[in-house]
């Protein structure tokens, strides 16, 4: 039955870095919150891209067949698209949840150094802007960036990702009986290659340790 499924063989041989990057890109796209940045993977991908860019220059200098050059160019474009899309996607998420992310050390640690810098300066600029344009004109008690008023018990003006949203996911290998809630009333049996729609929050751990792919 699974002999029909090309995905099976493709994921088994998923050793190339573009393949890994593609997985990271898909997970990042489908996950509501920001995931851990895979620095080694991204720098490996960058290196390969750079190497190919140099090779392509040599090719044109040495008069290699146009066909071959154009094929390598396509390969390069595809890798570049993935990398760019992945990085942009993360910047979009960071912009959206910047205050929420800057508040938490755990979330901050998921970002690359450049992203951390971006998140910090973005938050500063946004706070300054809100301060100058609106908050400074509001009465005492209503002038916080993060809270509606003094009576708020928590930061209720900070956009947060909705972790209990539903996501589509595909299992790579057997996970077995998996508990979705805290008290064990909701259990699903995750078998290899199953496709489920589940709450992100409950399978978060499986996404993080790579046992399940978001699609």
């Amino acid at each position: 039955m699974s002999s029909w499924d090309d995905e099976d063989t493709a994921s088994a041989a998923a050793t190339t870095d573009v393949e890994l990057l593609k997985r990271a890109w898909r997970n990042e796209k489908a996950a509501p919150e920001i995931l851990r940045f895979d620095s080694p993977l991204v720098s490996r991908a960058r290196e390969q891209i750079q190497l190919l860019e140099e090779t392509l220059e040599d090719f044109t200098d040495n008069g290699v067949d146009d066909l071959v050059v154009s094929l390598y160019q396509m390969d390069l474009d595809r890798a570049l698209f993935l990398l760019r899309s992945y990085l942009r996607l993360r910047l979009q998420k960071i912009e959206k949840y910047m205050i929420h992310i800057s508040k938490s050390d755990d979330l901050m640690s998921r970002l690359s150094l450049q992203e951390q810098r971006f998140a910090k300066s973005c938050t500063e600029i946004m706070e300054k802007h809100l301060e100058q344009s609106v908050l400074s004109k509001l009465p005492y008690g209503y002038d916080s960036v993060t809270r509606q008023s003094l009576s708020s018990t928590e930061d209720d003006m900070v956009p947060e990702p909705q972790l209990d949203t539903f996501v589509f996911c595909k299992t790579k290998s057997d996970v077995g009986a998996f508990q979705l809630d805290d008290i064990g009333e909701e259990i699903v049996d995750l078998v290899a290659d199953d496709l489920y729609v589940l709450r992100y929050k409950s399978i978060k751990g499986l996404v993080e340790n790579g046992r399940i792919d978001l699609i």
Binding site: D6, V18, V68, M74, L76, T153, E185, V197, I215
Partner: protein, 212 residues
């Protein structure tokens, strides 16, 4: 532009789904000699005339467009196999038949670029369309059975493009049921006004695991 599909619903654009499908491996028969290609996405070739070789779909299409090869349609893309799938699809109203995860995109790309390499192309195409229709109908009836007791939906063998199309409906439906069913939502209705904040802290609903 890269990364521009709506991040809110985490939707992939159809061209992004197609992009992913283009990495699926197909078999080509080149009509030229070409040295091995050591690419970022893997090593392919060397290529010799009339000797079949395995390459990713995007590469196959690129060569085909330049008239450098013929593409061998995958074994599932035959009238015989597809007729079986269609029959089985019609017979089991609650299950999806196993087809390649990217069957819609692969067949579309092959029809667009290598139509002359597919035997009985017209029939194959209409069979695939019929299969799609039957499967979508199942997805639609499946959506109707979602209720407040649904916390997990199993869609084994649903393909990438199908997932992408039902995603907004499915997610919004489940979300709406989940939200209105949450104990805090019910509690909140009692003391409206006293708390303005919407608590997002753990709202695990307790319900049975029945729905599949």
């Amino acid at each position: 532009m890269a990364g521009q599909s709506d991040p809110h619903l985490s939707l992939f654009s159809p061209s992004e789904v197609e992009f992913v499908a283009e990495d699926e491996i197909v078999e080509i028969v080149p009509n030229i000699r070409m040295e091995a290609l050591n690419m970022i996405c893997g090593d392919f070739g060397p290529f010799f005339p009339q000797i079949a070789s395995k390459v990713p779909l995007w590469l196959a299409v690129a060569l085909k467009r330049r008239g450098k090869c013929t593409i061998r349609p995958p074994e599932w893309m035959t009238v015989e196999r597809l007729t079986q799938v269609l029959d089985a699809e019609r017979e089991s109203p609650r299950e999806f038949q196993p087809l390649p995860f990217h069957y819609i995109e692969i067949s579309k790309l092959l029809f667009d670029h290598a139509r002359d390499d597919i035997s009985d192309a017209y029939l194959v195409r209409s069979l695939i369309e019929d299969i799609r229709d039957v499967r979508f109908h199942k997805v639609e009836t499946g959506l109707e059975t979602i209720s407040g007791r649904t916390h997990a939906v199993k869609l084994k063998n649903l393909s990438a493009m199908e997932v992408n199309i039902v995603r907004p409906f499915m997610v919004r439906t489940l979300q709406a049921f989940y939200k209105h069913d949450s104990p805090q939502m019910i509690q909140q209705a009692d003391n409206t006004g006293s708390s303005r904040s919407t608590p997002v802290t753990d709202r695990g609903p307790r319900r049975d695991l029945r729905h599949r």
